[in-house]
Symmetry: D2
Amino acid sequence: MSDLPRFGAGLWHFASYLDRYATDGYAPAVTTLEQIARAGEVEDLSVVDVPYPFTEGVTVDQVKQALADHGLEAIGVTPEIYMRKYRMGAFTNPDEALRKEAIAFLNEAADVVRALGATYLKVWPGQDGWDYPFQVSHAEQWRLAVDGMRELAQANPDIKIVIEYKPREPRNKMFWDSAAKTALGIKEMGVDNVGVLLDFGHALYGGESPAAAAQLLIDQGLLWGMDVNDNLRGWDDDMVVGTVHPVEVFEFFYTLKINNWEGVWQLDQFPFREDTVEAANLSIRFLKGLHRALDELDIDALREAQSRQDALAAQKLVQDVLFTCLRSDA
Amino acid sequence: MSDLPRFGAGLWHFASYLDRYATDGYAPAVTTLEQIARAGEVEDLSVVDVPYPFTEGVTVDQVKQALADHGLEAIGVTPEIYMRKYRMGAFTNPDEALRKEAIAFLNEAADVVRALGATYLKVWPGQDGWDYPFQVSHAEQWRLAVDGMRELAQANPDIKIVIEYKPREPRNKMFWDSAAKTALGIKEMGVDNVGVLLDFGHALYGGESPAAAAQLLIDQGLLWGMDVNDNLRGWDDDMVVGTVHPVEVFEFFYTLKINNWEGVWQLDQFPFREDTVEAANLSIRFLKGLHRALDELDIDALREAQSRQDALAAQKLVQDVLFTCLRSDA
Amino acid sequence: MSDLPRFGAGLWHFASYLDRYATDGYAPAVTTLEQIARAGEVEDLSVVDVPYPFTEGVTVDQVKQALADHGLEAIGVTPEIYMRKYRMGAFTNPDEALRKEAIAFLNEAADVVRALGATYLKVWPGQDGWDYPFQVSHAEQWRLAVDGMRELAQANPDIKIVIEYKPREPRNKMFWDSAAKTALGIKEMGVDNVGVLLDFGHALYGGESPAAAAQLLIDQGLLWGMDVNDNLRGWDDDMVVGTVHPVEVFEFFYTLKINNWEGVWQLDQFPFREDTVEAANLSIRFLKGLHRALDELDIDALREAQSRQDALAAQKLVQDVLFTCLRSDA
Amino acid sequence: MSDLPRFGAGLWHFASYLDRYATDGYAPAVTTLEQIARAGEVEDLSVVDVPYPFTEGVTVDQVKQALADHGLEAIGVTPEIYMRKYRMGAFTNPDEALRKEAIAFLNEAADVVRALGATYLKVWPGQDGWDYPFQVSHAEQWRLAVDGMRELAQANPDIKIVIEYKPREPRNKMFWDSAAKTALGIKEMGVDNVGVLLDFGHALYGGESPAAAAQLLIDQGLLWGMDVNDNLRGWDDDMVVGTVHPVEVFEFFYTLKINNWEGVWQLDQFPFREDTVEAANLSIRFLKGLHRALDELDIDALREAQSRQDALAAQKLVQDVLFTCLRSDA
């Protein structure tokens, strides 16, 4: 049996959440350090992606120590460029002063990446986009989005930056909305330290095949990170991975395997009403099942079926290992 | 020209909002009384739907006075049964004690309806539903949802109750999710003081034709209130009415007209990043345009085209009046 | 282990197909008798739903004999009321003469039900609906759809009629589009020989939970037949069951089981580019896996988890049996 | 007032259609020459996109003559690489021999472009893609799709080739599915005679903003053709333009105007149940209204509103001209 991958999670997986209705939050607030402690309770979790800024008063050193105390490492840092201040965008904000502040803040976050020894700065410009027809100049948005990211990359040549694309929410349409558009934009930047973090759920509800999106990014040399979760295909529900679309999750990991992609298998879930630690445990239990299924899959036979586009033969091979992957006799 | 309808709005139209990302809110908080003041600034606004409870410390009498001061009346009261406490549901909460508390709170809200002289108690059980496959017993949900609403209705025979259905959000699936399901449930209640508030946007993104849903509810004697707004058809974006789907909004109001439905034309919009008063003004300007278009529409000719399912003839008649409805020469 | 259910399929599963692009068809035409022969090749297939009219020249007696020869029975008859003649609708066609012809043809199909000893007449009014805003009078469509079905039912009191609802295709919107709307319409008919055939895929891409739709129909006493298949949740792709949404298919069959629903597990798939017999075999292999999983599922524990809306506990119980259901050691 | 654009249509607009249900077709078959005659009846139609092969027995010379007789020119030629033979794909067919035949056939179609003096060869590889998870190697599909198109382009350096992308149908997922992916693939081809034909409806139901997609392609130098129509945003309904989404159509044409894009305004509609000539006339009537609205739009004011992302101000300016564009007093 092949070695297990390292498992990770966005630290927000262990936070509490609110939305436009339950404005008092689905659970009491959880500080950065408490989130780390919870992450430490998850079996098999090795790394976390850390939002920045931390809870007020918490220092980088405290975070570093807490991670060490709980046997965790930081894989990434996610600057929160989607709060009120940046509600009209960070990179594409119509106000030049705010765009500059956003870049300054992102540079500060890059220092946190250095301090924590993380692998990447994750940039998710959640408020960059538009809501209404005719609201923005699309030409201008492209220019600002691409130029701003290039500027950030050139200011931090020692840091890997990954863009996480998403079709929508919180803006009705987000600028970086698909694998192909993100790859196209990165090419235009002409830098070599910007790549992509593919979120399985974002690809799924955006109408992509997550496996095809992963392959495209791998072929472009840009798949530098990933998140998994699940949804009902119409929204970024950030549900527990495998609870709705196990077949497509499996195809996603199959694609990573045949390309020898060996990064962290990471969770980006929002357990609004669930126990956050249990949600992670259930996820990792399933991911281990998938890992076993990949070990058992007859990949040569599958490739042969694919060479004929024989969907039935391919599915049979897949079902043989997927629908046995949690048996206890192994 | 026929008389203009009365225009209304959910009072939350004039609030500020937050979501799971911009947890600090898209704008500073706005109190109930401030919201009323803003509503009063809107040209042509006559009534509001008032969320309950009010901002802490605000009394019913203060609300009553503020409404009077700004020339407004309360059309409805909307109890907030979608906060943390009811995150697993109000009527269908698995905890019997919480279900009882929900009913008690709803009865309290019914008293506010009486105190404000409002037309209806609007019940939107936003947290009643489910998120995951296998999470709930669907038979039990139906029983609790129907029995609870009947109990509420029977405890308040002098009050009209309207259920606002919605496909999803904040639960991944909501229990009262369509016009037909709501009508079916109301019939099973066997009471005569429960009807439906149809939200145009909810019908649209739920895959209904809002006009067909309105006709169905009218034919069942259940269309007791309505809200309009707009969206991109995949989510409840609560955008300004007419900015995306003017044709289907027009068909919706046409349906009301030919059925002599003469209630309030009401806004349910969430202007996250916009000026809330301006958003209402722009909406009503458009609705007045639709009202003029309805006056000018050759309804006999349209009916004749429909009697042949002649889509082209019907659309031509519609376009003639819709795409001229904001001309200034009237 | 509990007894296996009877498996069935729409006979069209073994036909060839065309669409608006491949107008020459994805495969050579297959006659009714050839379709029966193919159905006979499927392991474990007991019943078929037979479209009517048959291929030109084929008689009811020939069909009867062919079914017997291949060890099959007819569960239903599906009259083709969606060809050119009825392109504007069968029950709701604007032309009264065509409505009468449709009813006459349906009565003829009812005779085929009698002749074949089938369980039901399946009515799928694929062309009843509308395409454009403003194209039809929704009030008139309801009246014609409900009255026509009542007339058919009353003319055939000895025959069970099942309506198969579907959100759209071939019309952009179909009249019978959801479980609740169909139940509401049937109630208004005031007859006792009209029920519903629930197609899993139609429910899924219509935004329903198929399990919740099944429960609703069972509670209304109306779930008289069902079809399974799969799709990508945006269209009626009629793919092989379990290839995309195994979890929700499992919840659907779980719902049938706990309600002691003991009808046929039936396929409605369109293997455009696949071997039709192999597609059925793969489907039934998976359905047998689900049957085993249902036998092994700890239903008491699941009900207990559901009584708390504990999604994680419920999913864990489900995954335990679903992701082991094809193991060979049984 | 600015000059009117030239209007065009796919010649299939004037054909008859069938689908998987109405296999006898929605209307009697219409030959290539009859389609041209119908196109000639449309007011203001100047050019057509001609499918190839023509109806059996019809020659290129006959087509040329018929076009001339009806005052039409060919803007493009659309080879039918989506019939049974290519049901598993043209460029990405798993059978090398079929791929070669496809290229040979496309070269033949390029000769028809030359013979008709058309502007481009339109390539829409409708069957290139996949239906099931795990059915294909996504890496291999990319390689075959890109290499095949490059080969075609290099074999016809004197011909402009436009790829029409589409999210799905007839395959459940199509390979060329978005503006960005198509642009990315074209860049990899390294040729200068391949561009994009943007179909408004494809962009819309694929979740793109058609205006943003147009701007992206213009900025990449690749927007060489376009089609308009409308749909309900979930499928390629190919409805009459403006009947559902007039605002977004207007934003699309606004984008073309501010970029000085001066090509043909072309229809790609499938009037299944409508009079095909009337459908075109109604479309062009609306497009002329949009053209007038563009003339009247205060573009400087709109740009200023966009520079602040002021959605309300932008919409107000747009509504001022859109909802007056069909007034008769001009």
